[in-house]
């Protein structure tokens, strides 16, 4: 395979797809750099699979432009397909072939020379931990093995772009770990676009996240940037004993002020749990602790809340629904509080 030109791996500009008048993908634009791992998130029916199918050249777009490794998908579909490893949703596989036979057949279709194909198949079987089942019939394999056959097939030709639609669905935690390591090992060599519903997975594996809802991109960036952008500010969990008025005074002393969003009842020792929210993202832990102690309040615990990608996802998709639904008289919902790590 010739070296791809030095453009970004995937460039999507104003992509729109309609099915019989229904808009599935609505004016999506994004870029994936070389060797970058991108998580593609969205509720069911958001247009993730449709977008991925358009990127692979399987479905034609209604309008917009997709360039893959510098090749426009409409005029050079062959070049694009040579540079893609694709694992569709539900991972369809032929039932009556052996694993190694299937990989050999796919390798030939992907134009891997015969003499390289044998060693390469051994390599991907090893990578995906499939050596034990290489002579088994695919129809008789368990779900976990089938998923890994799909992944092995996607990386077989070492394409510069890999697109996987829910690769970890149906895997047990041990297998998810293997798949996660496998995907992480592709970083820097191949651009990977993964859609998943398992958000911690995405957060751990991906460099950047793209959230789409109702066919539009509602947020994109690194998980940390998204947290700042979507949720804004930070939260703290505090266990404190002392006068209620003193705590309020300390909180008001910060600029902008910290708010107590939730306050528990005092326990036997007089400590109560308080959740604090700040509009800024910077670290306030230490000054807060100093101020509390200076006021004579007793502190048993202080920790910063770590909103998960799930919070970001829920907030981003909710926000986009509010924006898309025609009458929106209600105010934008407050950012959800983060969970304590």
């Amino acid at each position: 395979m010739s070296l791809p030109p030095p453009e970004p791996a995937i460039v999507v500009e104003h992509l729109t797809k309609t099915f019989a008048g229904m808009v599935a993908v609505n004016d999506i634009s994004f870029t994936v750099g070389k060797g970058e791992i991108i998580g593609f998130l969205g509720p069911n029916g958001a247009g993730k699979s449709t977008t991925m199918r358009i990127l692979t050249g399987y479905l034609p777009a209604t309008s917009g432009k997709v360039t893959l490794c510098g090749f426009p998908i409409t005029t050079r579909p062959d070049e694009v397909k040579r540079r893609i490893g694709y694992m569709p949703e539900n991972n369809p596989l032929p039932e009556d072939m052996r694993v190694s036979e299937y990989l050999y057949f796919r390798g030939r279709l992907k134009e891997i020379p015969r003499r390289k194909l044998g060693p390469r198949i051994d390599e991907v079987l090893e990578l995906c931990d499939l050596k034990r089942v290489r002579h088994k019939i695919i129809g008789k394999l368990s779900k976990g093995f089938r998923q890994r056959v799909g992944i092995a097939e996607a990386i077989l030709a070492e394409p510069p772009v890999i697109i996987m639609d829910e690769p970890t669905i149906g895997l047990d935690p041990h297998q998810i770990l293997i798949v996660r390591d496998l995907i992480a090992s592709l970083r820097g060599r191949m651009a990977v676009l993964i859609s998943s519903h398992i958000l911690p997975e995405i957060e751990m594996t991906c460099d950047r996240v793209l959230i789409i809802n109702q066919g539009r991109v509602v947020a994109q960036g690194t998980p940390a940037a998204l947290r700042r952008e979507i949720l804004g500010g930070s939260t703290y969990e505090l266990e404190v004993a002392g006068e209620a008025g003193a705590l309020a005074a300390v909180l008001a002393g910060f600029d902008p002020p910290l708010r107590a969003t939730r306050e528990g009842e005092p326990d036997a020792a007089g400590f109560r749990a308080v959740t604090l929210a700040a509009d800024r993202d910077e670290e306030l832990g230490e000054p807060l602790l100093r101020a509390l102690l200076a006021r004579g309040l007793r502190v048993r615990g202080l920790s910063r809340g770590h909103p998960t990608l799930e919070d970001v996802f829920l907030a981003a998709t909710r926000r986009s629904w509010d924006a898309v639904l025609p009458p929106a008289p209600r105010p934008a919902p407050a950012a959800p509080t983060g969970k304590v790590a």
């Binding site: 019989a20 569709p88 369809p92 009556d96 057949f105 279709l109």
Partner: protein, 253 residues
């Protein structure tokens, strides 16, 4: 057409390792064996005017109606049902290569099965002693007819498979289309209302497409270019429609 041979050899391989192929082959040979022994019975009782070879091929429609749907119904319908069409078409393979590869494999098996009936005649020749029992040329004509008409019949099967998602529906559709093609033209050719003077052009067209008449001509040693053209144009048309059908289903989901 770089991938045509990859798909063709893969499909032939999959047919050869599939037990259903052997089952179909046994059924086919058993059926044709019965036909053959039936013919021999008749010939042993009284002398007949026509060669047993040409009588044997008179029953060509029997395996065509049952074997062609069995051989082709799985090809595209199963790929679509399993969703493997998506993985296949996201490799640098064109729809035409997929359709032609599957068509080629089904046709090779069809011709292979018919060629194996040559064994019947070989045994007859060996044990009946001498060539005088039958003339080999109607046999050659008969096999040529099978090979040429098979091109069209298998293409019809592939077209039926490209239209349906379900194998059984594809099989029934193929059976119906072949039935209409073989017996429909025969029925129309004998219809009284077509004999009216005004319908002369239509009658000529129906007569041109009479598959039973083609068979008679071939076994008599008459290879008419118009008949060859009928099968070839039918094949090309059915394959083009199959390719369009696969692509249309991509566009409309």
């Amino acid at each position: 057409m770089k991938h045509f041979f990859t798909i063709l050899s893969h499909e032939i391989r999959m047919l050869l390792v599939s037990p259903s192929t052997y089952l179909a082959a046994v059924l086919f040979l058993a059926m044709m064996g019965f036909v053959f022994t039936g013919i021999l019975d008749i010939y042993s009782q009284a002398p007949q005017e026509i060669s047993p070879g040409s009588v044997f091929f008179q029953y060509f429609w029997l395996p065509v109606l049952f074997m062609v749907p069995l051989l082709t119904m799985k090809s595209l319908a199963e790929e679509r049902r399993l969703g493997t069409m998506e993985t296949l078409l996201t490799t640098p393979v064109t729809t035409s290569e997929v359709v032609l590869g599957k068509y080629g494999a089904a046709y090779a098996l069809y011709v292979g099965l018919w060629a194996s009936t040559g064994g019947f005649f070989y045994i007859l020749k060996k044990f009946a002693g001498g060539v005088r029992v039958f003339d080999p040329w109607p046999l050659v004509g008969g096999y040529l007819f099978i090979a040429v008409s098979g091109l069209f019949f298998i293409a019809v099967g592939i077209l039926a498979s490209s239209l349906a998602r379900n194998q059984a529906v594809a099989g029934i559709l193929c059976f119906s289309m072949l039935f209409a093609l073989i017996f429909g033209s025969w029925y129309l050719g004998n219809a009284a209302w077509l004999k009216a003077e005004d319908l002369h052009a239509l009658r000529t067209a129906v007569n041109y497409g009479q598959i039973f008449r083609h068979y008679e001509d071939f076994t008599r040693g008459v290879v008419d270019l118009r008949q060859l053209l009928f099968y070839l144009s039918g094949t090309v048309l059915a394959l083009i429609f199959s390719i369009l059908s696969v692509e249309a289903k991509l566009l409309h989901g």
